[in-house]
């Protein structure tokens, strides 16, 4: 859906436009939000944040957005910012009361390490490459199993396989991936 199509649809029916946006970009927004909130939020928190993203997007659509060249980029930007807001909010709730003593003070010095960030980024790239090397449907099964935390039955529906088969392939794919990672020196 281009911005022009969106504008036209908006003029016809705003609600239809909104529904179309959710249907078109729901999975996309969900993936972005999930990536940020995976470790700190529940499924409800993630859905709440996704709805925040679309509400902000609807507000944007209220005005003329025909000038937006890349609608997907706009949505991803809104999604990332909302997800970061939610992440901070959820972390603040979880850590609202902290017991800080002298032993913990060193943790307040900095929570961002450039080296660690680079290492993680490189590790992420290598991991995704090795998963991709496994090919379909193993890569999808592993990602949905271990990253999106889907059970075998749900994965089976998305890859058109039985749950038993998914579990078997998942086990074998994980062994393959482990071997590939050892080859490149990732053993942890």
């Amino acid at each position: 859906m281009t911005s022009k199509e969106l504008t036209e649809l908006m003029q016809e029916s705003p609600v239809a436009c909104h529904k179309a946006l959710v249907k078109e970009y729901g999975r996309y927004v969900y993936a972005i939000v999930y990536n940020k909130l995976r470790s700190c939020g529940t499924n409800e928190d993630i859905e709440e944040c996704v709805s925040d993203v679309f509400a902000a997007l609807f507000m944007k659509c209220k005005f003329d957005i025909s000038s937006e060249n890349d609608l997907k980029y706009l949505i991803s930007t809104i999604a990332k910012r909302k997800a970061i807001d939610s992440f901070r909010s959820l972390c603040a709730q979880a850590n609202h009361i902290t017991d800080t003593d002298d032993d913990d003070m060193h943790e307040l010095v900095s929570d961002f390490s450039v080296d660690e960030h680079v290492d993680r980024s490189e590790l992420r790239r290598v991991l995704l490459n090795k998963i991709e090397e496994l090919g379909e449907p193993d890569s999808t099964i592993l990602i949905q199993k271990f990253y999106y935390n889907r059970n075998s039955k749900e994965i089976a529906e998305s890859v058109s396989m039985t749950a038993m088969a998914v579990r078997a392939r998942c086990s074998r794919a994980m062994n393959k991936l482990r071997a590939k990672l050892v080859e490149v020196g990732i053993t942890r």
Binding site: A31, V50, S51, F63, S121, I143
Partner: protein
Amino acid sequence: MKDKKIFDILENAEYDSMKKLIDKCPEISDAQLDRIFSMSERKFRKMENGTERTEKDGNITMTENDTVQGVERSRRPVWLTPLSTAASMILIAGLVISSAVMISRNKHSVGGGSAPIPAVTATSSKVTGTTYVSTDKNGSRLTTTVTTASSEVTTAKSDTENEQSSSDSTEFIKPFTGNWTYQESSVNNLDAADSVINKGHVEIFGDATYKYTDNNGNTSTGTITKTTEDIGGTEIIKLDFSGDTFMANSAYYTESRPYELHFGNGYAARLLRDEHVNNTKTAAASYKTEYRKILEDFANSDAYNGLSAWDLYDLDNDGTPELLISVGDYHAASVRIYYYENGTAHPVCDTSGQMAHYGAYGYIMYCAAEQLLGTTDLHLGYYYTSMDRYSNHQILRIHSTGNDTGAVGKENTTYTVDNETVDEDTYNKMLDEFNSKNWVQIGGSYSFGDYSPLS
């Protein structure tokens, strides 16, 4: 390698990695999409309503680029303006009225008024005065009446108002006019009659002046001002005598002793009305003074403790109460009884001539109809009663009973009457007689330090 743990590394992915993860994202069910859509719509409507409300104010224009212009106007309740106006008016009116009242009051004061203050002289032909009322930071109110004896020349400017004020300001002296004797105590205790020395005579006049004549015939004069001190809710009248005639300048007056103006704490010097001087010795020797001495002596003795207390009770109905000193309120704490006779307090003794230590737990039982004293005591299984008559300031034993049932049991009980072993019937007969009396419990009504009944 933990399978799940390594996938945590995929969080916070950059754009490229994110793209791959989005591709692998499972499909979202229609139900979940509908839920997200409805939530989004609800939030959107809420945001939209907020925007429309802001735009309706007219000062803010939402453009397509979300540029905010103008200022936000806060909504104030309609009733707030007239209410705040009314409150302001009340405040201003209050300030104006209070200022007017204060200015009006200030006109009457010597310090703030424009009228010249008459000069002060000891020999006066005309008197003017002014009353000051002030309140210190603790809230104590201090009322001061300055009486000024003025000559004709200095008071020539006094107007009618000042004359009226003068008349009012000397009104206070009327209760104190007359002849007084100035007394000092050589031991700082006027209650000690032997220590009281008459130093001279004072005559207080209706114009708030006084004349003092000492025993050698030397005279001095001065003026008197009245001050009222409000201390702890009690107003104390204080007369300030000019000059250094007396031990102190301020003499205090208490209604309980209308014949006396005492200086300082009241024990060192005082003015006593002449008609009371002759009665001083009698008053000093009253039972109250004597009992007070007894109490003070007891308070300084080894027998005194924190539980000690005292009481007054007319045991023999002779019009002078007996002093009862309770050593304590524990089992063995007896009561010491004193009576007043011939200007002196004496201890009540038993038949052996020794000071009687009567009662238990700091109390004695008293039967007013027959002037009987009684004691009951239950201790360690022994029950004991005694009944005595208080006669001629002596305690005379009538009967005593005892049993040891609580210690040895009913079967082995020994019953005694007047320390003689008796049978149960005899014992019960005597006990019934004891119990038939209309006993009241007396003693220990006042704590040491509270001598108000003796003032």
